[in-house]
Amino acid sequence: MAPSVWLPLLVLGLPFVAFVLLAVVAPLRRVGPRAGLVSIGAIALAFGVALTVWIEGFVSETTWAWIPADGGPIATVGLLVDPLSNAMLVLVTLVSLLVQIYSLAYLADERPASLGRYYTYQSLFAFSMLGLVLAPGFLQMFVFWELVGLCSYLLIGYWYERPAAARAAVKAFWITKLGDVGFIIGIVLLWSATGTFEFTDLFEKAQEHALAIPGLPTIMFLIYLGAVGKSAQFPLHVWLPDAMEGPTPVSALIHAATMVTAGVFMVTRTEPLFALVPEVLSLIAWVGAFTALLAATMACVEADIKRVLAYSTISQLGYMMAAAGAGAAFAGFLHLLTHGLFKALLFLAAGAVIHAVGTNDIFRMGGLFRAMPQTGVVFIVGTLALAGVPPLAGFYSKEAVLGGVWEAHLTGPFLMLALTVLLTAFYMFRVVFIAFFARAHAAAHPHEAPWLMRGPLWVLAALTVLVGVRLALGGADGHEETPAWLAPLSVGLALVGFALAWAMYQRRAIDPARIAAALAPIDYLARRHCVRPAAPHRRGPAVAVTLPFLSLITWSPFVGALLIMFTARRRPRAVRLIATVTTGISAALSVWIYAAYDQDTAGFQFYEKFPLVPPLGISYEMGADGISLLMVLLTSIIIGAGVFASWTVTVRNQEFYALLLALVTGVYGVFVSLDLFVLFLFYELAVLPMYLLIGIWGSTGEVRPRGIFAWAFRETGVGTKEYAAMKLTLYLLFGSAFILVGILSLYVNAGAASFSFLDFEATAFPRPLQRWVFLAFYVGFGILAGIWPLHTWSPDGHASAPTAVSMLHAGVLMKLGAYGVVRVGMGLLPEGAADLAWLVGTVACINIVYGALSSMAQTDLKYVIAYSSVSHMGIVMLGAATLTGVGLNGSVFQMFAHGVMTGLFFALVGLVYEKTHSREIGKMGGFGKTMPGIAAAFTIGGLSSLGLPATAGFVAELLTFLGAWRSAHRWWLFPAVAGTFLTAVYVLRVAKQIFWGPPSSHFHDVQDARGPEWVALVALVFVLVLFGMVPGLAIAPIDTATVPLLARITSP
């Protein structure tokens, strides 16, 4: 590999290695400062390499296939190295390095373990941002884009015990995610129009004028929305000030080099595309300028030093976006780089101040210049740079921006930006005068920060000056000269601002309060309606195949059930042993068949058949194709985890395990049966034990009977878990009635005396028959898949069921429904499926949105998860309804992904319930402290469920979205994407409420997971991440099954 590839790769890899090291090696993480050294070492090395890359000026592009598909990969991963990314590499690594060094001192009071966590996040943050910078295509950029969002969420919420921090973290995530909704829709649309995510391809097409897509402006606008969220443009800027709840170095990092610059970088990177849509560009410019002005006015009245800087960042981001919008992306990018330097400087200096005085409130500071002169000097350097005083770095870049905007004849934005120059100087010097020169208020005795903190400050100050000088000498580097009057104008405006500040705050000649009130109505509105004022700023304490494989897989648990029933009476240990061994056999074999499946041959493999009732054509026929393979694997994973998760069942545990294992046999059987009749038998076997499992071992008293069944239950005087059990069983059997009718009518109409799937497949049924039989299958299997409005059994049932049953049911059995619709419905009745796809997809959209909304309204933890299953199953059904290869793959992948994450969720809920005996979300809180492992696993599951990249959920949702847009009903995309946003809302709300914040007074002695319980959690999390990172593992076999399926549907 050429150095132009592996050196950037090294830059990217080093922080990742540090992250993995810290994340996996718990002892290392717990030692704190030394963990910091690992991270710092890695980033320092990375900085060195990045510097080399920059100086050498490497240019290259390398890609590898990521999401495979027929006819070339859908998406690739790789590196795009060019001057733009090189400069960003240097900036990111530099600021990260300095911030990390600085943090070592700043967070010295933290508990070691929690410091280790901090550096783990830091490394991940650096890695994500570098990945974003090096991304060669939209998709990879989006992946890292989301990762960056995740890291900011983690770091802003670093002091998760503080409610304000928890809230701010969630808010940051939600609001940026809102922008990301646009982003993902935009790139999906772009992809479906051009067939590529790659920048290079897109740019080439743009150059050849081959990008004349109708709706390109809309697409670019949607993509721009992503930047609006990330780069805190109006009106999505509201998260940024609140994000100041995180530790100050984190703010520095976010503001200077990582999170917020991502948006600007993205617009800069894709400038050739934006250049095609002038109307969007001018919108960007206008919004940018307005944002700059608005944020500046807000900064003028802010008393929190960090929030002043935060508004200033928003304001400066407005400059950058305005420049990009004016077609002067280079100027914007330059401003990004210089701003990165001096904003980092300002934040770190502010951090030093806060560290010294213990408050963020500038009015409680004063006279600091005398106490900490070095900090004072660097802060003033930063202030001058920000205000745009020559010869500091900020002056030149800001001038370039102004010049660019003027040249683009955007007079309005230009005026706003010019006014902002004045305001910038004003609010920055306001801070300087109040904090550093006014009479001292501080009760504590401020002192200069330790060297570890001052060092980075001086480095940054020196760089600010040096870069400024370099720019002064080198001029605008071959770019257009700005009008001659511009420099005096901007310097003059800055001076006016300075004078105003001096008059108001040093001389006290003007009363600031009145002006403030006049200038900030919008802020008032925004805060009133969007932002709850943060709690008083007070730092809390820091805490922390030759065998019949398919038959073996299917029947092994059943044998286990029999053994348990007849040999293990009253010997719980033997019961568990048998359960573990028999499910273990199934699990091992399913991994084996997964590995042994021949993808080149495709079709049904591991085929077994022998006749059962020959005259009627019933035979025991089994076979697995790509879809069943994955479903079998899923079942094995979930039941394995389920056995461990129910380790603590003690009441009548013999019967419990026997029923559970019998049920599992039914599930396996459905997935591998090729004889529809036998499939139906297995289906019943999978459904019926549920009644007793829920009825006997369920948790009672939490489900209120509703609806038509409530009447019957009053009559018979039944308690509520029985109600849930009964409702579930009856709904599912109701479904099975439809399935039976469907199967019988196929049998009768096929004429051949056989129930074999393969024989039916070879039969062409008349279209009207197909239509209504498909409907029967859709309703029948769909009930199990939780289609709206027949989903109501699912929340009640899941909420009442014991842990393992919930896991198995939501994780696997609901998939069984979707599997039935895809395999039997679509596989056998292609024309019927094509005719009714509109119905399936529309109902799926309702499911997605309705499930998510219902989830938001729940107060019972299990109900939240149960409704989220309803929502996610909507995605599965939507993917299937798209009748596109991508969508079907996404559907099957989502079955798998959702199975694993729901299993994880229910396991976690079970653990939480077992330890607290409550599922009332409102009563919980602060479990992150007492059960960090569970909290971490829950967060990962949650992130997967909201489709965060690098988890299995993302790939599934992405594929489904792509499919939805390619389908005949494009609008499906919008509810689907809206659903993922709503998911983010409720998942994070729940996580915040339960795990973060101060410990709840309701619970004491809550302990983290122990022993076998860990097995379940770790295994599920591992699978979730593995399949997210390497989706090809699942997609390759799925593809072998969906391609022929689709061929049947779409062929005339």
Partner: protein, 470 residues
């Protein structure tokens, strides 16, 4: 062997029982019950050896496959009913054991003849021979007000339906100018309003006997008031006989004209299924619950009848077998619990799984079989009749039936819930039941499970005997 072997054998058993009851002295006449049971068992074994013979009595009396199939079923049901009665039924084994058993045996004789009757007169006589003893038996527990009252209701409704049936038969005879059913079928043609009217009236009589809606009113009251072992038998044997006679009258020799009956039978099936299942929902008394659920089962069998095909007929026969054992078994478990708890409410079953696990398991099997769940006989039964109906194009009926099985499962599962999920009363101990009753329950359970796992022989036999009808 003559065509009348079984009937003659049964006559001999009746003579023995009668003689025994005359000579017997003392209150305990259990040996008479043993005698009758042993006699039926012997007849049952003999019936296994019976082969079809040519029609006797100038074609009035046939002993074809269908008749033999039906007779074996009647004998099996009667055997289990009598077996369960020994030791379980105080009246049946006390002073009046002779009368009780004679009445049952004469009703059985009516059934045996009915299964073979291919002549209107013989049919009517056999029908009444079967019915009249039942009226008496329903009121046999003379001490109880309810029993006599139920007997009166049963009698009144039954007699009216007999009258309606006889009236219909008179038209059939008049229009066809013959009493031979084979020739009646040949005379049947669209242009024969009198004949059609007659057959419809006869149908109403049959509907009463098999308790289809709306001729079902006698069922719950009679079941609730009469003694349980008798009810177990009453709930299955006469209905089976009614169905066999239905096939004889309406299918045999009809050829393509069987299609005439499809809409009537399908409509009757649909309302019977719906009404039976819905009325069963609020029942608190286990016997009434089973009574209404039995009505629904008749509806399912009518689905097979509505298919009006050889396979449909065969599937009804299979259904009858599954129903006989599943339903009798369920009644007998109720009897076992009622003897211990003095209550026939479903609430008496509470916690049965922990008191008597095997009894509960047996009941669960019966309920699942009645509910049509795989791996027990009832599943195949339902499946087969649906199948036959689907083959006949009655998809709507199949869907309706399938959906209403879910309603049925609701009330069966309520019973299952009482047994398995609820805890028993603290004072409740194990349930002790007489050996003969236990044996009867075990036999039913074995058949239900056996047919669930391996239905093939009975299905094949049913298909074989049903084929010649068409």
């Amino acid at each position: 062997m003559s065509a009348f072997t079984l009937e003659l054998g049964l006559g001999a058993v009746m003579v023995l029982v009668f003689g025994g009851s005359l000579t017997s002295r003392g209150a305990d006449r259990r040996w008479i019950a043993w005698l009758a049971t042993a006699g039926i068992l012997t007849l049952g074994i003999v019936s296994a050896l019976v082969k079809p013979t040519p029609p006797a009595l100038s074609g009035m009396f046939v002993l074809d496959g269908l008749a033999i199939f039906a007779k074996r079923l009647f004998l099996a049901a009667t055997f289990i009913g009598l077996l369960a009665g020994i030791g379980a039924d105080a009246v049946a084994c006390g002073r009046r054991a002779g009368e009780y058993h004679l009445l049952i045996l004469s009703s059985l004789l009516g059934m045996l003849v009915l299964a073979s009757a291919r002549d209107l007169i013989l049919l009517f006589v056999a029908f009444e021979l079967m019915s009249i003893p039942l009226y008496v038996l329903a009121g046999f527990l003379k001490g109880q007000d309810e029993a006599v009252e139920a007997a009166l209701k049963f009698f009144l409704v039954g007699s009216v339906s007999s009258a309606v049936m006889a009236y219909g038969l008179s038209f059939v005879y008049g229009a066809a100018r013959t009493t031979d059913l084979a020739r009646v079928a040949q005379a049947f043609a669209p242009g024969q309003p009198l004949l059609l009217l007659g057959l419809l009236a006869v149908f109403a009589g049959f509907a009463f006997k098999i308790a289809a809606f709306p001729f079902h009113m006698w069922v719950p009251d009679t079941y609730e008031a009469a003694s349980t072992p008798f009810v177990a038998w009453l709930s299955v044997a006469p209905k089976a006989a009614g169905f066999v006679a239905l096939f004889r009258v309406y299918f045999e020799g009809m050829g393509d004209r069987v299609a005439t009956w499809v809409p009537i039978a399908a409509g009757l099936a649909a309302i019977t299924i719906v009404a039976g299942n819905l009325m069963a929902l609020p029942q608190q008394n286990a016997k009434r619950l089973l009574a209404y659920s039995g009505i629904a089962h008749i509806g399912y069998m009518l689905v097979g009848f509505a298919a009006a095909s050889a396979s449909g007929t065969a599937m009804v026969l299979f259904y009858l077998v599954a129903y006989v054992f599943g339903n009798m078994g369920a009644f007998l478990v109720v009897e076992a619990v009622a003897r211990s708890e003095r209550s026939e409410a479903t609430a008496a079953l509470r916690g049965l799984a922990q008191r008597s696990p095997l009894l509960a398991l047996a009941m669960l099997l019966f309920l699942l079989s009645l509910g049509g769940i795989p791996f027990v006989a009832g599943f195949w039964a339902k499946l087969y009749v649906f199948w036959a109906a689907a083959a006949a194009g009655l998809y709507w009926l199949v869907l309706l039936g399938a959906v209403l099985t879910v309603v049925a499962l609701f009330y069966y599962l309520i019973v299952a819930k009482r047994m398995y999920i609820e805890a028993p009363d603290a004072s409740a101990g194990r349930i002790r039941l007489p050996g003969t009753l236990a044996l009867a329950v075990i036999l039913c359970a074995l058949v239900v499970v056996g047919l669930g796992l391996y239905p093939k022989p009975i299905v094949m036999a049913a298909l074989r005997v049903a084929a010649p009808l068409f």
